[in-house]
Symmetry: D2
């Protein structure tokens, strides 16, 4: 059994880690870290886990935790993992960081967009960007995995094959993203109240959202050039789900069949990426609760653009599910172990 | 492997059977029956099953089906199972009927409340009412199981221990029930449109809902007397979940500890019934996607009443999950096989 | 023009007062009181009022306010109005208190259920309980009106005619109430977050909710006897709306026509109470945004009970709308002035 | 009093016309046309109108209607108005058509996108495109007004000033639109069921939606050149509201102040267009139930694009409200008569 510790176990992403890992046959959760609920029963914070989890919440002591477990998940705000990790800890335990601390290779870009100083830039180089479908081999041998952001996972996977194959003009790429409200976390803030979100939709963080440079960096690697995009997130009245609608001008004269073939080249062997049949637009409900990303596209000959669409559960493939997928790779397990979650409909 | 056929596989309850059974390690689904979608790919009707189910939908031919499978689930409107079943079929195959046809022992009561003639009353006697927690032993040897209704499962389990122990005056029992909209099925009707249900709550079927006699019959067995109740269902703007709030006058002077002890007597060994800690009211979200029923109660000394509450996912414990639980019992499998579904929150 | 001051203008009930009063032809709002947002533009707190309201928020200074306006609305938590009001203020200005401070005539009952000491019990006697349909004449001459609670308005109006006419056994009355989330206010608390409320329903405050004694007192006056009821509120995933489902045993052998006649006797001349046609259950969506209460009932001959149902917008008839209705009466205006709000559907 | 007839009074847009016109002081509704509900009480179809509207529904007889009223609103699917209108009718009565029949000046474009033959192309020339803020003077003298589509109203008004002033490269314009579900109408179809829409978001009609040529034609007039855009609508789980997010490359080096000045030039005198303060993104909830369009923008210097955002109630400014605004202009009334609807929050 792999012994697991979770720092930040009572946020929504932490809760989803507990949901998935509590049913994972090779895992034992040893540490439910939550500063806000120390010594409280975990199942009192998340009553869905009543009679499933009996443990109480612990403090966020990474050094002590490193002696007790094989892998630590940090599901905390940016800055925390970066400030706690050190060589001694990394020599004892693997870390999968769900925050942004080790996602961006250029520390200046990180500090600029996140507005905080990076406390352990020396580990940025070895950290592996844990987008399993793209960096699978590197993840397997990693000590420190930077689990991708929710918007970024969906945005990158949706555009990756066309970026990689040079089909689209990367200077024209626009990502219009829509997210359910669990992406905003469990913090008690007026804008996240039921009555403020329900029957409402809005854009936020226009031209300034922190997931922008992460998407740009990864798609830049794929395209082999610097990429600068427009990225606009929107808040949608639903609990889970991210939909991205991406627009780009075609560089070549390609048919829908050719683009389909490109997507299939990259994803036909990928269990968790489903390229839908022609004419079917992805819907977030079809992937809810699962680790799938559903992708499709449409060529618009009138504008010479391709419209790419991707749908995903932000808490699963966009956070906890992908983190477990990374863990499976790092420990030599079947990549889909514990993640054979059938989407729930309705 | 148990070979399974589903008649009515494209309704919401049928879809939930597919979700659960497709992940059940001892089951192979051989027949996706759906009159409306014959020859269409099942995953085109439920895109969540894309790349999970490759089969096409078939007609509802129970006789042919009986030769091919070990168990048939009928997730169809009342009347269908009753009109198709016969001795030859029952000699070949077990049947779990999710409709109301074999739930009520008194055929006159059935015909009166449902307004249709029962086509095979000769099987009502042998049919076992498949509320596993109460009729477990009978289910194990049954050929024909009447899978309980959604409201009824929740209503009965919530009141059962107090009815059985004679603590409450059954003449005072009032069941005020609230259901998510999936209970109304997938039929295209104006009252079930998004804009009609969203931001709305209403009662319906007041004093006339068909689940009433089913609850009365079962609680009557428990109490050892004829039971007549008030039952009022309400439609709530959510996909899944049933909450029942039940009111009854106490016949004895009992403490909360004593009532808790009664609930524990019946349910402490039941995996799928969770009696919550004192003071915590059940919420449907805590059981969503799972086979759990969460129950609690509160004594009101001012009125000498006990308020009992139960929460459940109407498509799981209220339909498909309980049907699979029955199947597990009928085939000698672990009762919880395929049903270790952790509730999803949020 | 009637000069109006609002203390607590940035809560949901306060916001609704602003919505209604800003379109009231005889009213000028002079004071938007909000301790949390002093000196901020009101329309920054409620962007729906952009270019409609240009004022900034002020402190909650009732004494100063009393010199400037003709009527003060206090839309604040219990205790505040009771601690601020005094004879000098009441000699200058009329007060409509949307909190519970002056609703309950028995100060001991108030202090027991609310858990706070009443700071100005000397005004309880003269305060008029502002349920306009019942206390219209008293309201007209009142200096201090206690605006009824949301659950209570709906619960009382739904049962009032049958209680008054002695048709129902008051000892059997059970009120099962369901409310949208705006009733919980705009405070930033985890249980009111979108993801906690959405796709969820729960009971709360079982046998202990503070609106219980208010309903009991008023229905007691109607019935001419002490009344003790079971009252259970539920939180429903919608912004607005209260539905009550009330159960009572019939004391007399009455027909549906007779009960309809009783309702008509009390309400056929009431603009804001609509007794629906036979067989139609009230729905909260049909009154959304308006000052209407929709009422209907069903006799259940099997149990000898009558099921009464009432639907209302909790922020309008349950708070701000009724407060304006009271103001209209107190100032000799047309009772429906500013309240001719057509319900919005969908 | 202006006598009004509505053809299609029981669809959602028709219902909204009734809501608004029933409170309009200069209007009397004489004809509630609805083929589906002939002879049924209107308030039985829309119970919100109980005791407000007493009339029954009538057939869709435009010729007879033309003799009885001063203005006809057709809130019907495309094709109907075009097939009924003729010179005799237009000589007797003004027509405001909420369908697409007379919106597009190029009949070939209409027939190509809508897939039907236009039955009265002779009136296309005289029909005025009823976007009041742009074509106010022409509307005043029109016999036949083509009321703009919901997506189009929001899309055009949001981009119009920048298109008109030549600030943006029209070849780069991308409109990503999100709509509440009432835009899909009241037809009973599976994809519009509560359980299919709730907790879900999807794009639809990608690169093929019929509002595309309407936006292109109107923005083409503004820009003085042919315009071809990418337009992608999305279905959002809410009843009302449209949000558009529009992307375009800047042709000139402009500051945010300069763009703000351009918006103010066109809209500062417009009652129903609110250009928000800097940094505030429009939200559909802030305009719900009202005739407002809220607009704002953000320059992204990294990409040299401007992101424009507009929010609107699709049934009000996007349909019935704008139709009444047109009627007011056509009959010389105050333009905002009956439309001083304060947005409802929450």
């Amino acid at each position: 059994m792999i012994k697991v510790g979770i720092i930040g176990a009572t946020g929504y992403a932490g809760g989803e880690l507990v949901r998935i890992l509590s049913a994972h046959k090779d895992v034992e959760i040893k540490w439910y870290g939550s500063r806000s609920y120390i010594d409280e029963k975990y199942a009192r914070v998340y009553q869905n886990m009543f009679q499933i989890v009996d443990d109480v919440c612990m403090d966020d002591n990474m050094a002590e935790l490193a002696d007790q477990v094989d892998v630590i998940f940090t599901a905390t705000p940016q800055g925390l993992c970066g400030s706690l990790v050190n060589e001694e800890i990394l020599s004892k335990v693997k870390i999968i960081d769900l925050s942004a601390d080790f996602r961006i290779k250029d520390v200046k870009t990180y500090e600029q967009w996140y507005g905080i100083e990076h406390k352990s830039p020396q580990f940025i180089g070895e950290a592996v960007y844990g987008l399993c479908e793209i960096n699978r081999e590197d993840v397997k041998s990693a000590r420190l995995v930077a689990n991708p952001g929710c918007y970024t996972t969906c945005s990158i996977l949706t555009a990756y094959p066309l970026a990689k194959e040079g089909v689209i003009d990367m200077h024209t790429l626009i990502v219009d993203a829509k997210s359910g409200t669990s992406g905003a976390g469990r913090g008690a803030k007026v804008p996240n109240l039921y009555c403020e979100v329900n029957e409402n939709i809005k854009a936020y963080g226009v031209a300034t959202h922190r997931h922008t440079p992460e998407i740009e960096e990864q798609l830049g690697y794929a395209a082999g050039e610097d990429v600068v995009i427009s990225f606009t997130p929107h808040l949608v009245p639903m609990n889970r789900g991210i939909l991205v609608t991406e627009y780009a001008t075609l560089k070549k004269n390609v048919t829908e069949e050719q683009i389909k073939a490109i997507y299939d080249k990259y994803y036909s062997d990928e269990k968790f990426v489903r390229v839908l049949d022609g004419g079917i637009c992805p819907e977030t409900k079809w992937v809810e609760g699962s680790n799938y990303v559903d992708i499709n596209f449409k060529i618009d000959p009138r504008t010479n653009r391709v419209v790419m669409m991707g749908a995903m559960d932000n808490l699963v493939k966009g956070a906890a599910g992908q983190a477990v997928q990374n863990m499976n790779l790092m420990f030599g397990l079947k990549e889909s172990e514990g993640l054979e979650l059938v989407p729930m409909f309705p």
